[in-house]
Assembly symmetry: C2
Homo-oligomer: 327 residues x 2
Amino acid sequence: MGGDFGPRVTVPATVEALERYPGLTIKLVGQTDTFTPYLQDISASVRDRLQPVQADDLIAMDEKPSHALRKGQNSSLSVALQLVADGQANACVSAGNTGALMVIGRHLLRMLEGIDRPAIVTAVPTLEGHCYMLDLGANVDCCAEHLLQFAIMGSVMTQAVDGITAPRVGLLNIGQEAIKGNEQVKLASALIRAHGRLNYIGYVEGDDIFAGKADVVVCDGFVGNIALKSSEGVSRLVASRLRAAFGRTWYRRVLAWLARPVLRELGQQLDPSRRNGASLLGLQGIVVKSHGGADSACFGFAIDEAVAEIKMDVPRRISEQLAASLV
Amino acid sequence: MGGDFGPRVTVPATVEALERYPGLTIKLVGQTDTFTPYLQDISASVRDRLQPVQADDLIAMDEKPSHALRKGQNSSLSVALQLVADGQANACVSAGNTGALMVIGRHLLRMLEGIDRPAIVTAVPTLEGHCYMLDLGANVDCCAEHLLQFAIMGSVMTQAVDGITAPRVGLLNIGQEAIKGNEQVKLASALIRAHGRLNYIGYVEGDDIFAGKADVVVCDGFVGNIALKSSEGVSRLVASRLRAAFGRTWYRRVLAWLARPVLRELGQQLDPSRRNGASLLGLQGIVVKSHGGADSACFGFAIDEAVAEIKMDVPRRISEQLAASLV
């Protein structure tokens, strides 16, 4: 029911995902009568693996998380997360209210041992591959201890998913000198350094994220969200400039036609919606958050992400690494 | 003396600027004997307009601003700013310690009436032209009142420099809904709305900066610096991907050769160093801050910015608009 478009996006994306993954079953949670218009003409194989689950209530995108939590167990978000908590689903994918997803997720799924708050993490492309950046918006006010926990989770996730033995952990700041930054960041830097089991490389700046200086970039959710969305904005700006530059004269348009596989490849790399699907890390279960503005192709990438995390059994791996790192 | 490279960058950049602007005189402040190696073989016309000014001391890039201020009047930064304060220079350009530049600038040049703290502002490219974004790193901890003052200064600057009557002012946040954001941003939003004389359009997100949703984007210096540097990092990443995509096969390399004016144009647009030179707004004088890592071509852009601001008489215009807006 979530996101800017609700079932109009999520239901077609579900149908397409079921076509992509013959072994997948999806429980579609929400006001099931609103799904019907989008379920015409689907194959028997898809219909068998699509299970509508009724949830009478829904949480608005601008609802306060605390209010959403009090609302109780009948919202589509609560029902979906309860399915994961009960082991009836392996992952929950939502384009809904991020704050509510975090608060209800924490309530129903519980946190991993040693972690206070979930963080939103995603892979960010770099010159050398990718890095993981967290938090991207689950926590707008973090203290230094939370940043330390994000560092641990990010490091452990990189070890688990990418198999890097000692991931380089950087703390996002506005300069590399020790005097730079606000008090929270300076304190977090001291805590992360003191932890002893992290490969902490110190402060990284905004441009270092994409230069691949660190495998894990740690920041609070306010800064992380703005850095990520700014980078998406720049990508769109560049894509637009690229089109304009190649459209300016007839000669250039011919070149663009000749170069269309290159330009298509670049266009895809520049399209931030192709990287949709961020994980809510730190919970005892897989929760993937889609952009609220995602269209159905883009929501499909969030489903892909959930499928990949199920296959890799990410929470169990993190929990094992975490147990080892807390010893 | 400032920046990562000191006179090795600033002196050649000065010589080149004097060649570009036949009406310009530059007072080169610092340990003048360190300039000598870079002043060989310069023309008589340049030599006449280049005036070395001795300053025995210098402020390190990692020195605390409070310490830099106590150090007194003999640092190159203090001497240069004092020249502006005394009317012996029309502007000060520095690649030095940002915090020190701000604190000493505030001490020697004084603030404009109604403004508590200087803010770093620069023009950021958008789909529709550019917007002004502030603060970009002068203030890591801002209260809501400071954000209001940034909004006023940014609005007034846009009116003065771009001639826009009612610039759209947006406050950078992690969502557009009223519930989103941290306490400081929510409070600032209420203050800016209550001011009454600003064309406040509400919250803008990271990607909106580059979409051109606002003429002025207001944020604290920590977030602004990270958003701007992230966008620079993405630009470099895209430029690198562009080169890689066009270099992959012989056919593509031939295309790249045919398309080299387009690619050069894009490369220039994507090169963040071409936008070097941010203004310290709110002081009674022109102060332009260069990236610390600037090379001499890039430091030259900061000199260009100072020359442009002198021509437009930016502080006087801002001060007039400010007086009118505070009535």
